[in-house]
């Protein structure tokens, strides 16, 4: 099992997106949002059903799985019970949650390594056994490492942590799940999701001075409240999205969890291209550029977003 997001993997995802988007657009008979494009592109099958958000269940084929060191333990213990040789899709484990802060980095790390060595050894050996990549303690926090290495526009991933949607900053639908969902997906079963409702947030204007991506998500959270995003995917669009860096977008999608959203996502743009190139993934950026129409909402959505627009924010006020 190749752990990296290879150009081959991304090409295959885009081929499937291309095929399914046309089909699903015909089924619903209207332009599609980016969320609808990515989800339909990962559907197990398209059978003519128009899915209703918050009501219908769909079976999807994710592109990757990410586990952290607390929830990942039960995932691996359950996978051992499945009596399978290897994970069926690229999977990584990240040791980040078990490290406790007290004094400073290297001293804390030493103490935590001692305290948790048996858990880290278990996870490392389970990764080796079942074909998963293992990020050691100290390598970084799961969502940051995924953004730097694995996330890609138009992809679908699941992770056993509620801030998995961080990868939405790189145009990915990335959703936090329970351990058994991860185990079953690793075992090759399709993954079941309550089809999300749609929330559109239109951004115009530009960030400047003291204003930052954090202020945008705090404002959105203030307006939508802690449960306003429940069973919904928040899709950002509008000219303002381009004024936010890829990592700034990730700050916003990360905290979509705080309004209960299934996840949040941004359309592919030059800022994501830049980030991909500077993190040694120029080949993925090239593929994304060639398939850009798959990685943004249909143009009619931008001009006529009424059917899913919830919030419109102009990026000027200091917050």
């Amino acid at each position: 099992m190749k752990i990296d997001t290879t150009p081959e993997l991304v090409s295959n995802v885009y081929l499937k997106l291309k095929e399914n988007i046309v089909k699903y657009r015909n089924v619903v008979g209207r332009p599609l949002t980016l969320t609808e494009k990515i989800l339909s592109g990962h559907l197990n099958k398209i059978d003519g059903t128009v899915f209703t958000g918050g009501k219908d269940y769909v079976f999807l084929k994710p592109d990757r799985v990410a586990l952290q060191d607390v929830t990942g333990q039960m995932v691996m213990l359950q996978f051992m019970q499945a009596a399978l040789k290897q994970t069926s899709l690229p999977t990584t484990v990240h040791c980040d949650h078990l490290i406790r802060a007290e004094v400073q980095g290297d001293i804390d790390m030493k103490v935590s390594l001692d305290e948790n060595s048996e858990v880290f050894k278990f996870l490392q050996s389970a990764c080796a056994k079942y074909g998963c990549g293992f990020w050691k303690p100290g390598a970084g926090i799961i969502h940051q490492v995924v953004l730097e290495n694995y996330a890609f526009p138009g992809g679908l991933m699941i992770g056993t942590d509620s801030h998995t949607p961080n990868a939405g900053g790189l145009g990915m639908i990335a959703i936090g799940v329970g351990g058994l969902d991860a185990t079953e997906t690793m075992a090759g079963l399709p993954w079941e999701l309550l089809y999300p409702k749609k929330i559109g947030v239109k951004l115009t204007g530009e960030l400047n001075g003291w204003t930052s991506p954090k202020d945008i998500i705090l404002k959105v959270a203030d307006k939508l409240t802690v449960s306003g995003g429940t069973n919904a995917i928040v899709e950002y669009f509008g000219s303002g999205t381009k004024s936010i860096s890829c990592t700034g977008k990730a700050t916003i999608t990360n905290m979509g969890a705080e309004i209960g959203a299934t996840c949040s996502v941004f359309p592919y743009d030059e800022r994501m291209e830049t980030y991909l190139k500077y993190t040694n993934r120029g080949d993925i950026a090239e593929l994304a550029n060639q398939n850009k129409e798959l990685l943004v909402a249909d143009p009619e959505i931008e001009t006529n977003p009424e059917f899913f627009l919830i919030e419109s924010l102009k990026l000027i006020s200091q917050h």
Partner: protein, 423 residues
Amino acid sequence: MARPISELSDDVTSKDYTDPISVALIGSCTNSSYEDMSRAASLAEQAKAKGIKAKIPLLITPGSEQIRGTIERDGQMDSLKDIGATVLANACGPCIGQWNRPELENDEQNTIVTTFNRNFPGRNDGHRSTLNFIGSPEMIIALALGGKLSFNPLKDDLIAADGTKFKLEPPKPAPEVPAEGFMKPEGIFIAPPDNSDNVEVVIDPNSKRLQRLEPFLKWDGKDFEEIPIMVKAKGKCTTDHISPAGAWLSLRGHLNNLSDNMLLGAVNAFNDKVGEGKNIISGNIESFSKIARQYKENQMRWVIIGDNNYGEGSSREHAAMTPRYLGCAAVITKSLARIHETNLKKQGILALTFSNPNDYDKILEDDRISLLELDNMQPDKQVKCIISHADGSKDEILLNHSYNKAQIEWFKSGSALNVLRNK
């Protein structure tokens, strides 16, 4: 709720927030990008030029070794250290409550400011009276320089080392990626071997934190007859009431040891106690896990009765696994939270709801529950349930379920994993 910095000062007074800040924290997975750290460093450099430091402890959590190494190389780290910052490990740490604060002896109200993503009580340091205010990295650095929550960097002056007053400038526009590219740290990732036939998964049989799972037993084909009630949960019973986190976090890989926390937070409608119920063998009031262990030894199954939206909260499957492990046969509630309902089904516990929610009120502490004709369980067909009261009277009620055909097999096989393994 969110507010502009210009209104924070008034809120400090009107809402009685603690004005002096005790600690400022920046970074985490949410806010430790190259751009974030560069903007934070830009403010730190203004302070250094005026000869001042942060007035309070300033902690930095880099999101990854790649970002840590890069800002060390490019100088942002030094700029932050120059104003007194301490760099923590590249890990979750204070953002998820993995933070020791021995200086807080009496759980006194105190204020921290962070760039993290969550700020509910107890989240960061385990102290419910710590108030966490969330902002951007540049704003948190400004607050660390001002030292108090009411400090508004757009309006208020700082005092330079030479006694002159100055205002902070907004952070300089920062590069989103380093011109020289990111550092490429080595030795932090292990790829799996091509052939893993000889790899053994390492679990010490005597471990207190890890335990190999044993498959749950398949259903024996018999109806559940006259089985006792572990708890009749009253009000909110989330996954955190069923399987609490906190100190139990370290036992998430050991089902047996973790099961000691089963239903610890559940309020029992029979006695209004939290985490305790009546043991029908001894007649004593004991913790649920203790009772369940005795029932398990005696091969007795039992049920949980729940209120509205039982099992809401997180997707943690432990909230279904610990009851299953200790012998729970069914969860019968007014309504079930969606993800927990699926988790119950997958772990082999019958997930049922009252067809008439008022039937919840019929259930008394010394009742026994029978679930009948399970061999003939079908999608969209209600399950027959008899409540046998201590006075000899009986109530027959119907229970709803949302199982489809494949899910009924999960129940019959003992769990969804058993179905998968038997394929």
